[in-house]
Amino acid sequence: MGRYFAIRIGRAALTIVLVVTFAFVVLRLSGDPALMILGPEAPPEVLAAFRKAWGLDDPIWAQYFDYFGAIAKGELGRSMRDGRPAIELVLERIPATLALTLPAFFFKVALGVPAGIYAALHRGSGIDRAVMMTAVAGFTVPSFVLALLLVLVFAVQLGWLPSGGQDSWRHAILPIATLSLGGAAVLARFTRSAMLEVLGQPYIRTASAKGVPWRKVVTSHALPNAAIPTVTILGFMVGTLIAGAVVVESVFAWPGVGRLLVVAVANRDLAVVQCILLLVAMTMVTSNLVVDFLYGFLDPRLRSKGAHA
């Protein structure tokens, strides 16, 4: 059991190291950081001072370790645009992003999971087909198209809701709807197939052949087993909350982390981009860890298997 978690935590740490390495490599490959950050018009003596201050004349491996050290201390550089620490800029945008993504996550689960379970239990029914068609649409309609369609209908044509901004709770409805619908469709499709897989297992047939009432077979045998793969995808969804918000925040001019990222990329504000990259990696890794812990809770077999994997 202890070893199971030790392996997971080791893996999580490795992912963070890889992300930092990725940022470092990309940063170094992209050119001279002094020029990138100070701009080509900077006087040579300023550039030289910057290089000295940041250890850019040191051997590459020394720079690599310094970079790690700086990140560990939370020194993520300053935004090129307004000179404030990048981490401050990012942190102050987080509440806005959570205001969209947390309700959206709730709706995804509340809509997607029951729809998937219902579809699996009534396979081939009209509702099953409707769920599957919606799920396919949820995959093939990109979020920016869905967002614009919602704006077109509810803001432009009907005039019920505002099309962008962050002035009242009504401004949040369309972004949350966009995020929820796509995610719910994916989740419904996934839950349905996890459920169908479990329902095809011999122990389900055995239980119902024994005379266990079908309702009880479903609630005490099928659902707990189908929960395991579903929890995995939920964990992945938590990890991608920020990534998912990038497009939607841009469409609805919602001042969250995603929009900050797009603006930072367009302006090549490297410190901010790097800071968000790390934030996403941390979210990802944390949610994966939580899923692994939940796994241990849901499926005792995994603990012993994990120890031998």
């Binding site: 893996r11 490795l14 992912t15 890889l18 992300v19 990725f22 940022a23 990309v26 940063l27 490959l29 992209s30 396919v136 995959f139 093939t140 309609v141 990109p142 979020s143 920016f144 198209v145 614009l148 369609l149 704006v151 077109l152 432009v156 099309s163 197939s193 990890g239 991608t240 920020i242 990534a243 990038v246 497009v247 841009s250 469409v251 990222l261 797009v262 930072a264 990329v265 367009a266 090549r268 504000d269 490297l270 981009v273 790097q274 968000i276 990259l277 996403v280 990696a281 990802m284 890794v285 994966n288």
Partner: protein, 287 residues
């Protein structure tokens, strides 16, 4: 028709038993073929140049004789822009899919062939790739390197490689451990012969199915980046780019946005339908 092609065609029809193709798949194939033809001949069939201005017909609605799909704010023909956008988007998607399939398969084979440290490295990188949202990584790279079409294709080519790598590695290892690959190896065949002539044809159907699953995601990813203004840059145009531009005129001229958006949705849907069907036919084990 020569004998050989006749035989191939027969073998083909036997393997795929043509009459059994469902209507949805037939429609999807038709759509994709049409898209490919458009991509190949975009400039020839476009009624206007895609940057050509028609200032007397700005924001013309669709359905008029001169501009079937209407015009945009600058009077550029939406249909012509759409055709060129299809070409660019498909070019990027095909280029990227080809790169990621080749890179992934080669890395998977290297992992299977050398095992040990190389295999661990490939597995670690593919775990990492799979666990980080690609959009964020792509945005970071674009921020650091700026933007150009080759960079964009190369960047999109990193999308999904880990799936091919895992499949290729797993299947090559099992082929190497027992079976035809081990048998051919002891005949004295070189590794390139074993991997290219024996293992690759044997796992090709699984890889092709994976391609049809990755391809729509590449189209969506590219159009998403272009929509955000971080992918294909003006004056070049792509489907996502057009949607992004059309968003500004959503109120007055929704057709600018609707035409490319519909194309994106129908194309990804068509590839998915073909992919699902192929998966059922060729490789039911793949999820």
């Amino acid at each position: 028709m020569t004998d050989a092609t006749l035989k191939d065609a027969k073998a083909f029809s036997r393997r795929f038993s043509l009459p059994a193709i469902p209507v949805s798949v037939a429609l999807a194939v038709t759509w994709i073929v049409a898209m490919l033809l458009i991509a190949a001949f975009a400039e020839k069939i476009a009624p206007y140049g895609f940057t050509q201005l028609d200032l007397r017909n700005r924001l013309a609605a669709p359905g008029n004789a001169a501009h079937w799909l209407g015009t945009d704010e600058l009077g550029r023909d939406v249909l012509s822009r759409l055709l060129v956008s299809i070409r660019i988007s498909l070019l990027i998607a095909f280029g990227a899919t080809a790169i990621s399939a080749v890179v992934g398969t080669v890395l998977g084979f290297l992992a299977a062939h050398f095992r040990g440290a190389i295999e661990q490295l490939v597995l670690m990188l593919s775990d990492f790739q799979a666990s980080m949202p690609f959009l964020i990584m792509a945005l970071a790279v674009l921020a650091f390197f700026g933007n150009s079409l080759p960079l964009l294709v190369g960047l999109m080519g990193l999308f999904g490689w880990e799936r091919y790598a895992r499949i290729a590695r797993g299947l090559a290892i099992s082929a190497n451990a027992q079976g035809y690959a081990a048998a051919v190896r002891q005949l004295g065949a070189t590794p390139s012969r074993i991997y290219l002539r024996h293992i690759l044809p044997n796992i090709a159907s699984t890889l092709i199915v994976s391609t049809t699953l990755v391809f729509p995601e590449v189209i969506l990813m590219e159009s998403g980046l272009s929509f955000l203004g971080l992918g294909v840059q003006p004056p070049m145009t792509s489907l996502g780019n057009m949607v992004g531009y059309g968003r500004e005129y959503l109120t007055r001229a929704p057709w600018i946005m609707l035409a490319p958006a519909t194309t994106i949705v129908v194309t990804t849907l068509a590839v998915s339908v073909i992919g699902d069907w192929l998966r059922d036919r060729l490789d039911p084990t793949l999820q």
